[in-house]
Amino acid sequence: MTRGALRHLSPRATAAIIGAGAVALALGGCETPTPTPPPPNVCNTGPAAAPLATSAASREVVSGELIVRFRSRAGTVSANRLSRLKLGPGVRPLSGGAILVRLPASEVGLMTTDAARGRTMERAAEIAASGEVEYVQPNYILRPHVAPNDPCYALQWHYHDNGFAGGQSPGGVNLASAWDTNKGSRGVVVAVIDTGIRPEHQDIAPGANLVQGYDFVSDPTRANDGDGRDADPTDPGDACLGFPDSWHGTHVSGTIGVVNTDNGVGVAGVNWEVSIQPLRVLGVCGGTTADIVDAIRWAAGLPVPGVPNNTTPAKVINMSLGGGFPCSQSPADQSAINDAVAAGTTVVVSAGNDASDASGSTPASCDNVITVAASEARGQLATRYSNFGSTVEIMAPGGDVRRDDNNDGQPDGVLSTVRDGYDWFNGTSMASPHVAGAAALLLAKDGSLTPAQVLSAIQSNAIPRDSSQCPQPCGAGLLNADFD
């Protein structure tokens, strides 16, 4: 493994070097970023590197069936014993001394599926309480996960099922299970308000998951593309004060799902199918409030002076950006966010990388947004850099390129696309698109959900964190993208 130089994404981050912001490492595992052209690497071709375990993530059961192992396994299980436990006939022996039993048809036969499942669980609890069994459990229905064949998917620990078993990660958000039933939909548009996109990327072209975006950078010098606002959101680079181009928007968009997942190349995204709308607001050394608020409204389908109307309004906005001032000092931001939410668009934002309370950052401290703190591969708050506090709604993987807690020989950053290849970045910028992507998954199943309902679903489904995992407030816990 060869580690490249740290890349700093913002001039403000330079002061703290690693302490803030997203950094990219050029590593042997994936392509090296600019300035030198990247060589081919393992993300380009080849089969998926790690098979995934099956799981009972969907929690489906065979109604009326239980697996039981009695304390005394000598001889045949008597009919009396089964009768005493009100179990019906149809016993089938299983390996390991357990048996498969069936509840009487009179007990579950006429019930609805949900009711029968509930009755089955109740009876399991009753039998367990009898003291006669070593264990009793429902006969779960498991399905093989639809693992994407992208060769670097195995390195994307942040998508794996949450846990410690093979193929799982304690920092994962259960996408492996979620994809069993929901891979997203191109009917859901997610606006990425960022540095733009590199549409020619081998894992993005021909752009099946892209819709028309816009370049909102009004200052030609900052825009770095020779003009002000225009209809081309291609990222020409944002190098600033000696720091290289970040390709930040391409990385964020890759996580949400602009990449061609399951194409045998590169990486996977949260959504296999989605419509990413790149809205460019960050240019050389950042972007302005004025350009950002126009992009917010345009994304939501609202009019913006001097710009053609958006014909494909977004249901979700991701903003992995911010400034070090509270939202109370930026009514223009709050006004635009309120307008977007009123139009039915869910707004997801990063908490910031100052390892401080997010109440001092905008848009993280604005009302009506889903503010996302960052976790690392252990599923804990990334205390090295992530903002926190009462304005944070949820935590999601932002990674930590300084760590390798999963011992895969690679940094524990979030792996996604950059200009000519792939890179590990860390930051709340990387956490936010996981949540935006999860919101898109929700909306793919039910496009009528309001922003408040999306937030409620995300928070109620979160994996709880204790004070050792989140020594500072991190919202409802770690994102769980499996909503089944």
Binding site: H248, G306, P331, T428
Partner: protein, 213 residues
């Protein structure tokens, strides 16, 4: 008005150099990293004449050069005693305005020129859009006044004009120089405060720079 990287990355303040009898003092750059540009976002009260004007000029073909928007900005500037120019209409019926520093520098020069000991003042603007304005003050008759160490009373010209280097003797006999800082951040702060007090303004804020996280 053109907008260049001067508003992005450079240092803290616009420097006005008052060269007494021809003294020339160093220049500086402006705007500390992360500090606001000289642009201000102004949101107007719903239904106000100002908001109606902005909304009427906010179609898909909207242009910043709209005479009506420029007139609105000028009128707004008149009410807050600062030269304002319209940059562009913003979504939601707001307006981005910029403080016209070139006009402000000329206005400051005129005020200085009105002092009895001053013969005339020249303004030299540098940069593609005139982002450094060097004011050279020629004294009508320099007789040791203002004395070395004095601030030439620049505080009277506005809270955003600060002394960097008090009056000191220049190499040429009978001359002296004074350097003052035209503090861009303070200028914006004062402008925002004045705009907020205007009856038609719902909010005013600096057009700040945000960065990727």
């Amino acid at each position: 008005m053109q907008h260049t990287l001067r508003t992005i990355a450079a240092a803290g303040a616009l420097v006005l150099t008052l060269g007494l009898s021809g003294g020339v003092i160093a220049q500086e750059t402006r705007a500390a990293e992360g500090s606001p540009m000289n642009e201000i976002i102004v949101g107007f009260e719903g239904g106000s004449t100002s908001q109606q004007t902005v909304l009427a000029e906010s179609g898909p073909e909207a242009k910043a050069e709209s005479p009506k928007l420029q007139a609105l900005a000028a009128a707004l500037g008149g009410r807050v005693s600062l030269p304002l120019a319209a940059v562009r209409p913003l979504s939601g019926g707001a307006l981005v305005v910029a403080i016209d520093e070139r006009v402000l520098a000329r206005r400051l020069a005129a005020e200085i020129e009105a002092r009895p000991e001053v013969d005339h003042v020249t303004v030299a603007s540098e940069g593609s859009d005139g982002w450094i304005h060097r004011l050279t003050v020629f004294l009508r008759e320099y007789a040791g006044k203002p004395a070395p160490g004095e601030d030439f009373g620049v505080g009277a010209f506005g809270g955003y004009v600060r002394v960097v280097e008090p009056v000191k003797a220049a190499p040429e006999p009978g001359t002296a120089t004074l350097t003052v800082v035209f503090d861009g951040a303070e200028l914006v702060r004062q402008a925002v405060a004045r705009l907020k007090a205007d009856g038609e303004v719902a909010y005013a804020q600096p057009n700040r720079i945000l960065e990727a996280h």
